[in-house]
């Protein structure tokens, strides 16, 4: 049996994660390509609210590729952000004073973004990364076309 699968089943048996979480983790393991399969890092909150299960991911970078065609010629943007930087950035959110967080939340919701900054936690980021295998967004405007690709590597 695969070591990661065994680890997940052991966590399930120990009651550290729920059956749904175990199923999700196993599905993530199966969908991982060979280069990214293996041990995971990060936390997933257990059913009891504690951060019991430690999950590790091999993805080291978040890559954002933007290719747009404009009148004058093509424009490309290629950004590679280390995952550690994203995690550190999320931790930075916890340093924002509560009063400022409230103001930020109010401004965001005023602009149609129902986001609560205080609820952004590193485990949310891990969950996002798990689901962000390869996202491609095509943007069509009147005169310009752009393709945005976001993936982990």
């Amino acid at each position: 049996m695969n070591e990661n699968r065994r680890q997940i089943l052991e966590m399930l048996a120990a009651g550290k994660i729920t059956a749904d979480e175990a199923e999700r983790l196993i599905a993530a393991l199966e969908s991982e390509p060979a280069a990214t399969a293996g041990v995971f890092t990060g936390n997933i909150a257990g059913s009891n609210g504690r951060n019991d299960a430690t999950v590790k991911t091999h993805a080291k970078y978040l890559r954002v590729l933007v290719e747009s065609t404009e009148k004058d010629g093509p424009t490309t943007v290629n950004v590679r952000v280390p995952m550690q930087l994203l995690r550190a950035g999320v931790r930075l959110a916890s340093l924002i004073p509560a009063q400022a967080q409230d103001q930020l939340d109010a401004k965001l919701s005023k602009h149609g973004i129902p986001l609560t900054v205080s609820q952004i936690k590193p485990e949310n980021l891990e969950e996002l990364i798990d689901h962000l295998e390869d996202l491609t967004v095509d943007v069509d405007a009147k005169e310009e076309k752009a393709k945005v690709r976001v993936f982990c590597e």
Partner: protein, 86 residues
């Protein structure tokens, strides 16, 4: 590990400069000299914002260390900007 070198390259019709290798480790010298002042400012900000001083230091160090490997490359038909942190 804290990044040691940054690579900067800017090419445009108005400005064409060679690839710059910036030795970030040299910044440690003024940083160490100014550390009492910097720590005092951070401490004052933490007290004002009611944030743990050590947590703030750990977070900023975490961000600094995580900058390694950052790569930004923007290319248009006539200009190019590259920023790499090694």
């Amino acid at each position: 590990m804290i990044p040691n070198v940054a690579v900067l390259q800017i090419e445009s019709p108005h400005c064409h400069m060679p690839t710059l290798w910036l030795p970030l480790f040299l910044l440690w010298i003024p940083l160490i000299l100014l550390s009492p002042l910097i720590l005092f400012v951070i401490l004052a900000a933490c007290i004002a914002g009611r944030v743990s001083f050590w947590k703030a230091i750990a977070t900023f160090l975490g961000i600094l260390c995580a900058l390694r490997g950052l790569n930004v490359r923007v290319t248009t038909y006539d200009s190019k900007v590259l920023v790499r942190i090694l």
